[in-house]
Amino acid sequence: MSALPLYAQLINLFAAILLLLAFAMLAQRRVLSLIDLFAAQGMALAASTAIVGWGTGQSHLYFSAALTLVLKVFLLPWILYRLIRRLDVRWDVEGLINIPTTMLIGIVVCVFSFNLAFPISQLAVTVTRSTLGIAIACVMLSFLMMITRRKAVPQVIGFLSMENGLFFAATSATYGMPMVVELGIALDVLVGMVILGVFFFQIREQFDSLDLKHLEKLREGE
């Protein structure tokens, strides 16, 4: 490991933090704390992006780091906070299926994604290749989180953190996608968030709750 330059070690550190945060979100019950965790994840992501940019001299990564910072650390959490307050579901607590099992599945998924990523990262030219596995793991974990959630807001947060994982993969495994694409992605995420915000209200006024169990009417089997 000592062979690695400092920035690479830093990136690995941040990668580990991201993974940790992903697990934390998987286990987290309370909506507000979820949002905080999400913001933290964004922070870590922005930091790692910036470091990659600094380490490899890819100047455009600074932009994307800034973008991430603005979007995922300030804008989205802010929107979420406001929504929570307006919908006052602040004290919404998720009745999770028991956490140990979820954790166990999560770990299995992690191992799987590391295995999956291993042959790929062998081919990578980038120094930060070993982080690809972590990126996949993050994606999978947030997927798992979305599955386990019964309420609308946490599910959306899971969706957004999945976006984080992807973004991390993009920056760490490859030194960032072309700017156009990143902008487009960012725009989509933002718009999507707004639309979801609108949705929350509509769902509220229809079912006066954000519990997804109201959204199970359309079905085939009975």
Binding site: F112, F143, L144, M146, I147, R149, L212, L215, E216, R219
Partner: protein, 664 residues
């Protein structure tokens, strides 16, 4: 202009007539007095062209339509020409009848009926000239569609809708099988023209696969057991000319397809194909005729009798396959002649009978045999002409039905020359079954004719029944004359058939020298010979002579008196046998065939009523289980979709993981 292009022109003409009808949907007089006779004319012309082209070498033509790599190939050879002739003749007569038939439009406007009717005709003709898989399938399914819409003309009646659905479903399944059959036949060459299929040589089990697919697919259209269920539903549902067209001509297109595949496109027939086709055909024949005997609806009865005739045809095809598998072309030729001849005969007499039921239906508004009777006094024309049809269909000499059965039985009698002893044992049984079927057919026809036309009217309103109109009479008469002529000039007809048998079996059925225009003798004079004309003449002479002598030697005085009936005074029409009563012996003998639901009155019933419903065992044994199976599978699959989004997400998640797992 070549015959083929003339045939195509005829198809176009029919389409044009139909479109004109569609353009003026409600002008009934114009449609019935101009368009339908026009269609009849086209049909007659087509028949003449086809008959003329029968001896010509096959001519082919490629139309600039169809798929880019597979344009519509058309070809006119002896086989196609013969069936075109059937289509043309029967179609002409039926169109003429329809001119008088379609009066008030119950469900569908007459223009639309005219359109569907002529598209139906055109599609059948197209099937017969098609020379590549795609064109064939297009024409085939267009035929099914047009007939479906014709069947559901009076779509307000739920039974009719149900019948139509069943018909289209089975037709579609059959069509899929035929498509697969072509898929096998092209043998990996990717060439879907029939030419390519002839060239392709199939290895191993593929030919058998093709044969079975063809038997299934065409059997579904022909009403072969166990795919016959649609037939007795659809035929009664349709307007009578349409039933006549379906039963008289459309079923023949299925026979055409079977012949085309088995003898033209496939080579190297296996003897056991023959055995299977033979047994299946005979089972179908017996099944059909036994059910016909038990029917109480005149059109259902005829529909079941069509099933019987189809069975006989398929049995003949099986026999021909058997012979050609054992390289006995002459015998195969005889069997094929019998098949073709019977197809021709059936087209005539079954159309005649269906049209006759149409006239009865029109003048009495009554389809159930239990409410008819004594119509020979009210509608003498129809009665007289229907008698010809009934006798022909009962297979009595000297009419046409007998000739084909005679030929087929002759063909059976030659089997001892086969190497396979097992087959030799089987074929006499087959002959016995055929004879039995023919005998029951006579029973059925006596029931049909006797209950409808003879006896006393079973309902008062029958007193107002009126005879058929001009067009209808002419059409019926034409068909009846056809039955007689086909019956008394077999040698000539077989001479006409010769090119077809030569094409299919490689040799004519009648060897030179044996027999002449008067005497039909397949192998040799002292082997077997039959001359209906002489028989007819002798019978007529004897009858006339007897009449003359009796009136000469004694007298011809006649007194009218009320019927005696053993002196029983209080005769009412209800005392005659009903249809149920007449069929009851057969029902009793063949009890296991039926699924009988009886409703017996108790002694205390205020209004006692006795009713018997005859059901088809196969329906309950085969079709309902399949339907239930599909429903069950659907329920299982439906369970996948529980409406919970997390479940759906899990699906995606697991799919993803599984795929990734398998990829690495």
């Amino acid at each position: 202009m070549s015959p083929l292009s003339l045939c195509l022109a005829a198809i176009l003409a029919w389409l044009a007539i139909g479109s004109i009808g569609l353009a003026v949907p409600h002008r009934l007089k114009f449609i019935s007095r101009v368009l339908f006779p026009l269609g009849a004319g086209v049909g007659f012309a087509l028949a003449i062209v086809a008959l003329a082209a029968l001896r010509d070498p096959a001519s082919a033509l490629v139309l600039p339509l169809g798929l880019p790599d597979l344009p519509f190939h058309t070809r006119l050879d002896a086989l196609g020409a013969f069936f075109l002739a059937i289509l043309g003749l029967a179609g002409a007569a039926i169109s003429l009848f329809s001119a008088g038939y379609f009066r008030s439009s119950e469900g569908t406007p007459p223009g639309l009926i005219c359109f569907e009717y002529h598209v139906f005709l055109a599609a059948m003709a197209a099937v017969l000239v098609a020379d590549d898989a795609y064109f064939f399938m297009v024409a085939w399914e267009a035929m099914a569609l047009a007939s479906y819409f014709l069947v559901t003309t009076e779509h307000r009646i739920p039974e009719i809708r149900r019948a139509g659905f069943l018909y289209l479903l089975i037709a579609h399944v059959g069509a899929i099988a035929i498509l697969l059959c072509f898929g096998v036949l092209q043998g990996g060459t990717g060439d879907y023209t029939f030419e390519g299929m002839r060239a392709a040589n199939l290895a191993g089990a593929w030919p058998s696969a093709a044969f079975f697919l063809a038997l299934f697919g065409f059997g579904a259209k022909a009403g072969l057991l166990p795919l016959h269920v649609w037939l007795p539903e659809a035929h009664p549902a349709a307007p009578s000319p349409v039933s006549a067209l379906m039963s008289g001509v459309m079923l023949k297109t299925a026979i055409y397809g079977l012949l085309r595949v088995c003898f033209d496109l496939l080579d190297g027939q296996q003897w056991w194909w023959g055995v299977i086709a033979l047994s299946l055909g005979l089972v179908t024949a017996l099944y059909g005729v036994v059910f016909a005997a038990a029917q109480t609806d005149m059109k259902r009865l005829l529909a079941y009798s069509s099933i019987e005739n189809i069975g006989i045809l398929v049995a003949g095809i099986g026999l021909a396959l058997l012979y050609s598998a054992y390289a006995k072309p002459l015998l195969a030729a005889i069997a094929l002649t019998a098949v073709l001849y019977h197809a021709l005969n059936h087209a005539f007499f079954k159309s005649l009978l269906f049209l006759a039921t149409g006239s009865v239906l029109h003048s009495t508004r009554e389809r159930s045999l239990g409410k008819l009777g004594g119509l020979i006094h009210r509608m003498p024309w129809v009665a007289a002409l229907a008698l010809v049809g009934a006798l022909a269909s009962a297979g009595l000499p000297p009419l046409n039905g007998f000739v084909s059965e005679w030929l087929l039985l002759q063909a059976f009698l030659f089997t001892p020359t086969l190497p396979q002893s097992f087959v030799n044992m089987l074929v006499p049984l087959a002959a016995a079954a055929l004879a039995l079927a023919a005998a029951i057919a006579a029973y059925v026809m006596v029931k049909f004719y006797g209950v409808i036309f003879l006896g006393q009217p079973r309902e008062p309103n029958l007193a107002h029944a009126h005879d058929a109109g001009r067009h209808e009479r002419i059409a019926l008469a034409a068909l009846a004359v056809g039955c007689v002529l086909l019956g008394i000039f077999p040698a000539t007809v077989i001479g006409v058939l010769e090119p077809v048998t030569v094409m299919l079996a490689g040799t004519p059925a009648i060897t030179e020298g044996s027999g002449n225009w008067l005497l039909l003798a397949p192998i040799s004079g002292d082997r077997a010979s039959y001359s209906p004309l002489i028989v007819l003449v002798v019978i007529v002479v004897v009858v006339l002579a007897t009449i003359g002598i009796v009136h000469r030697l004694w007298h011809g005085r006649v007194r009218r008196a009320p019927p005696w009936d053993c002196g029983y005074p209080l005769q009412t029409p209800r005392m005659q046998d009903t249809a149920e009563g007449f069929g009851q012996p057969i029902r009793q003998v063949f009890e296991p065939f039926f699924r009988v639901e009886r409703e017996l009155p108790t002694p205390f019933d205020a209004a006692p009523r006795y009713s018997v419903k005859i059901g088809d065992r196969l329906w309950h044994a085969l079709y309902l289980p399949i339907a239930r199976g599909a429903e069950f599978a659907a329920r299982i699959v439906g369970l996948l979709q529980q409406g919970r989004i997390s479940v759906y997400l899990t699906y995606s998640f697991i799919t993803l993981l599984a795929l990734l797992f398998f990829v690495r």
